[in-house]
């Protein structure tokens, strides 16, 4: 299908984008990489009056290591992140997730800011943000603010981003030496949205996992922490952790699978990811 007619404006700066949002209100949508937005427009699931294109804004596509944090600008393309040495070294979980994100042609356009602002419950990067306990930088009419990943996801496609706000970047803690990361997802075709997936971070020393953060995706309306399973893993009991998922997760049925299957798959993923977190490094 073809989208309903809309007007188009190219924002020159973050301030300009926010002013345009304020001017046009609910009828406006921000266009980042467009790899989800344009699909929903084509299917007429959404019919904004105006698109505000962020692709002309300079300075939003950098990846920098600063003060123990990896900062990634909102308009950084997946393909740039995939090629980045800073990401590979200091944000390895993001590097692990990257090949699972759609396909090369889509990674050339899609942006990290767009993915995290859209917050598809089955997408990889929102779950990685949650697993890493990262921060989201948001600019709005009243200025800038920073929101913790744990406080950011509010509901299905709902986040801490307000109607006249724009996500400008994310900050992730740079990986310390004893940190471990795990990532696994199950999908019908490589690159498709996950039926269920898991992004995890932890510290592993003397055979013990601590500071475990498990962020499941594709199993609820937002990416979700499995806190009972995290505690069980910190206690060294994998079977108990898998059993704890019964209380941590309550996946609704969706177009891909029913909730019971997703719950079972979550246990499969947890065993695979714990293997990654605890395996001896070469």
């Amino acid at each position: 299908m073809k989208p309903a007619p809309f007007a188009y404006a190219k924002a020159r700066s973050v301030e300009d984008a926010i002013a345009l949002l304020a001017q046009h209100g609910e009828g406006a949508k921000l266009l980042a990489g467009g790899q989800s937005l344009i699909a929903t427009l084509n299917m007429r699931l959404s019919a904004p009056r105006i698109l505000i294109d962020l692709n002309g804004i300079a300075g939003l596509n950098s990846i920098t290591l600063k003060g123990g944090e990896v900062e990634i600008g909102a308009m950084t393309r997946h393909a740039e992140i995939e090629r980045s040495d800073v990401i590979r070294k200091h944000a390895p979980l993001i590097a692990m997730a990257m090949p699972h994100i759609a396909h090369p042609a889509i990674r050339n356009r899609g942006t990290i800011g767009g993915s995290i602002a859209f917050a598809d419950p089955a997408a990889e990067l929102p779950a990685c943000l949650l697993a890493l306990g990262g921060l989201v930088e948001i600019a709005g009419p009243k200025g800038k603010r920073t929101v913790k990943a744990d406080d950011y996801f509010k509901g299905l496609y709902e986040t801490a981003i307000g109607a006249c706000d724009m996500l400008t970047g994310i900050r992730l803690p740079a990986a310390p030496a004893a940190s471990r990361y795990g990532f696994a997802e199950l999908s019908r075709r490589h690159g498709d949205y996950a039926v269920a997936g898991l992004a995890a971070s932890a510290t592993f020393a003397s055979g013990k996992l601590t500071k475990v953060r498990l962020a499941f995706f594709g199993v609820d309306l937002t990416p979700v922490r499995a806190k009972a399973a995290e505690m069980a893993l910190a206690g060294g009991d994998l079977d108990k952790a898998v059993a704890a998922l019964a209380s941590d997760l309550d996946p609704p049925d969706d177009i891909q699978e029913n909730g019971a299957v997703k719950k079972h798959l979550a246990g499969v993923l947890l065993r695979r990811v714990v293997q990654q977190l605890t395996e001896t490094r070469a």
Partner: protein
């Protein structure tokens, strides 16, 4: 509010200036306004890969980019890379190995294969499959496509020696 926009871009090396609706996708612009019908329109939501074209040297989904976003860009389609001879060996290999039947996916498949081979000169069969995983083919079962891409990779490697 502008629902119509003026754009100037390069398509297959030629300067093009047109007035387009803001909502027009790149692939519809190429097909309807420029009659470059080699790029195909399949699912129109980024899943099938039939609309794959190159923008500023990188493959993209022609259905998930607006024509207006290509103002100032360099766009290449299957017509362009066919005429330049850039993928003549891939095209020949696809034909020789029956890597196409109906041909609907072929333009997108060829551009995606060329993208792979320009970044990885010796891809494994698994890597070939992964790279074309965003391009649906409903005829071949993919095996012949992987064969064709692999044979071109080997031939190009041989000719570089």
């Amino acid at each position: 509010m502008n629902e119509m926009c003026d754009i100037s871009l390069t398509v297959n090396g030629e300067r093009v200036s047109e007035r387009v609706e803001a909502r027009k996708s790149l692939v519809d612009f190429l097909r309807d306004d420029l009659t470059l019908t080699g790029s195909h329109v399949g699912c129109e939501h980024g899943v099938c890969g039939a609309c794959t074209v190159r923008v500023n040297g990188e493959i993209v989904r022609g259905c998930l980019m607006l024509a207006v976003q290509c103002d100032g860009a360099s766009v290449e389609t299957i017509e362009g890379v066919s005429d330049s001879g850039e993928i003549a060996d891939l095209q020949e290999a696809f034909q020789k190995r029956n890597a196409l039947q109906c041909g609907f996916c072929t333009p997108g498949m060829l551009l995606t294969a060329q993208d792979l081979l320009s970044n990885d000169q010796t891809p494994s069969r698994d890597h070939i499959r992964e790279h074309i995983s965003g391009n649906y083919c409903r005829c071949t079962g993919y095996h012949a496509i992987v064969d064709a891409v692999e044979s071109v990779a080997q031939a190009r490697k041989g000719s570089r020696k």
